[in-house]
Amino acid sequence: MTNGNDSESVVKQLSVTMQSESIKEHIKKQELLGALEEGVLYINDKFEIAEDYSNSLEKIIDQEITLGQSFISLFENRVPDNILNNTVEYLNLMFKEDLDEETVNELNPLNVVEFHFENRWGLWTSSKYLKFRFNRLLRDKLISGLIITVTDITKQISLSKKLEEVEKETNKQMEWLVNMLHVEPPLLKEFLDVSELEMQTIDKDLRGAKNNEQYNQIFNKLLRFIHQLISNASLLNLKFFIGKIKQFESEVRKINEKKEISSGDFVPIVIQLGEVRQMLQDVKVLMNRFKHFTETVRPKRQYEDGLIIRAIANLVQNMSKDLGKEVEFNYTKFNSSAIPYSYQQVVREFLIILVRFSILYCFEKPDERRSANKSPIGNLEIETFSTNRLFGFKLRHDGRLIRIERLLQKSIENTEAEIQEDKSAVRDHLGAEVIRLLFMPTTATSSLSEAEYSQEIFNDMEVAKKKLKMHRGKIKIIFTSENYCEYTISLPVK
C-alpha cells in the first residue's frame, strides 16, 4: 500500500533515477514501479509514453499501453473533447521553461477526471474517477519530460457523491416520513395502489391517443385523475404530495386553456407524470422500509376496522368547517369488520362521495336550518347490513334536497295523469330518474369553486358507479323533499 506522500517521494526518487542511467538504478526503478499501486508514467516533450511505467497503470485505465504511444490517445473516447483539448493546452504549458510549475499545475484539467468506459457498441457502461498529477523532469536544468502519477479515486468520489445524495434524500424522506407517520399504513397502501392503477390507465390512454378529440378527452381524464389524487391525498393529509400534484394541476390547466392542443403540449405533462410516479414509488419504498416499524406497532384488526370510520369522520369535520356547516356524524350501526375485503375500496369510495355530496349540497348552514325549523346541527348517519346473499350499507342525512325537489316537481307535472293510473309504477320511475339525475354531471352550483368541486364529485361518482356496476351492485334512494334522504347500496356476497 502506498499513499499520496509515498507516491510523491517515489516520483521525486524517479526523477533522480531517470537522470542516472546506471543499470543498478534501472533495476531499482523497475522494482519501485512494480510495487506502486498508483499508475506512474513518463512522457517526453512530444507527449509520447516512454518505456518506464508502473504495472498498475494499464489496470487503472483499462487499456494496453504500447511504447511511444501518445499520452493524449489514452483519453480518446474516454473523456469529452473539451477536456482532451484542455489537456493538450495544459501539457504544452508544462513544457514551457519560462512558466512556473506550480502556477501551471493549477490549470491541470485532469486533477479529477471521469473516465468513461463503453461496451462493444460504444454505449456507456461505467465510469472511473482518476486523478492525474504532473511533475516536470529536469535534465541539465531543462524540462526533458513529465512524470505523471495516476490514482484511481473512484471510491472516494462515489462515496462523497453517495453521501451527498443520501443527505439530500434523507432530508426529503424525513419530511415525508413526518407527514406519513400519522397515516394508517393500510390507508396509505390503498392510496398508493389506487393512484398507481389510475396512473396506468392514464398512461394507456396517452399511448392510444391519436387526434385532437382524443387529446381533449385525455385532458379531462387527467384533470379528473389529479382531482382524485388531491382529494385522496387530502383525506390522508399528505401535504408534500398535495403540493406536488397542485403544481402538476396548474401545468395541465395552463395547457388545457390553449385553443389548439398538439401532441407536443403533452411533453411537460409526461415529464411531470413521471415525477409523480417516481414520488409514489419513493413513498412506497419508504413505506416498505418502515414496514418493520409499522408491523411492530401494527394496529389490531379492530383498530384497522375503525380506519374507514375515522377517515369519514375527518372528512365530515373538515368539510363542514370549510363550508361553515355543522354536521353530527353517527356511525354506531356501521360495522366496518362486516365489509368483505373485496368491497372495502368501493364502499369507502362511495361513502366519501356521498358524504361530500351531502355536505356540499344538502346540509344547510345553521341559520338556514333554524329558519326551516330544524336543529341547527345536521345529522349524517351510516349503517351496514348483510344477509346470506348480500352486503350493504346505508347513508342517511337530514339536509335539504334541492335538486331532487326540482326534479320531483317537474316529474310530477309531467306524469300527473299517469300517477292517477298507477301510483306505484310512477314512484319507481321517479326513484330511478332521481338517482340518474342526482349522479349526472352538473355545474348548477352557486359559485365557480363549488362548480368545480361539484364536477369533481360527479366525475368521482361516475367512476364509483362503474365500479359498482362491475361488482353487480345496486343503489337505491329513498327521500322526502324536506328533510330526509337515505341511500342504500347493496353488493352481492361472492
Partner: protein
C-alpha cells in the same frame, strides 16, 4: 431529463423526415417506457456519456425505411444495405444535432445499427426512458430517449 431535452429530440427527428423527404412526420404523445419492448425491424442507437449519460435510439420498420430510401435515392429496388445505411444515417443525424446542441461536454458514440427485431434494447436501469411515437405517411416508428 427535462422538457427542453425532450422537445429537442422530437423536433430534430421530425425535422429530419421533412428535410429528407419533404413530407412532414408527426410526433405522437410521448410516454414513459416500461418493461414492454419498443423495437421494430431496424434500430439505430447512439450512446451518450460525459456530463450526462444515456442512450437514444430510433427504431423503424423495413417498409418505412424502404419508402424513404426510394425517395432519397430515386430508385425502385432497395437493398438491405441501403436500408441499414439509412437507419444509421437517421441516428447519425440525430447524433449530429445532439452534438451541436449539447456541446463538447458530451461524448456521443458512433451510431450502432441493429437489424432484426431484438427482444429489447438495453437501456440504463436507473434512468427514466421516454418513448416518442413518430408517424411518417402511414408508417410508424419510435424514438426512445434515455438521458440522465
Amino acid at each position: 431529463m427535462n422538457e427542453t431535452d425532450l422537445h429537442f429530440f422530437i423536433d430534430s427527428t421530425v425535422n429530419y423526415f421533412e428535410e429528407v423527404t419533404s413530407e412532414k412526420a408527426s410526433a405522437g404523445i410521448p410516454y414513459m417506457k416500461d418493461e414492454e419492448p419498443v423495437v421494430l425491424e431496424y434500430t439505430g442507437i447512439i450512446g451518450i456519456s460525459g456530463k450526462r449519460k444515456g442512450s437514444i435510439y430510433v427504431t423503424t420498420s423495413e417498409k418505412m425505411l424502404s419508402s424513404i430510401a426510394k425517395l432519397i435515392l430515386g430508385i425502385e429496388e432497395i437493398g438491405k444495405e441501403d436500408i441499414k445505411d439509412l437507419v444509421g444515417e437517421i441516428a447519425n443525424t440525430i447524433s449530429g444535432n445532439v452534438r451541436q446542441a449539447y456541446g463538447s461536454d458530451f461524448m456521443i458514440s458512433v451510431p450502432v445499427v441493429v437489424e432484426g427485431k431484438a427482444k429489447d434494447i438495453k437501456l440504463p436501469d436507473n434512468i427514466q426512458s421516454f418513448v416518442i411515437p413518430i408517424t411518417w405517411k402511414e408508417h410508424k416508428s419510435f424514438l426512445v430517449v434515455c438521458l440522465e
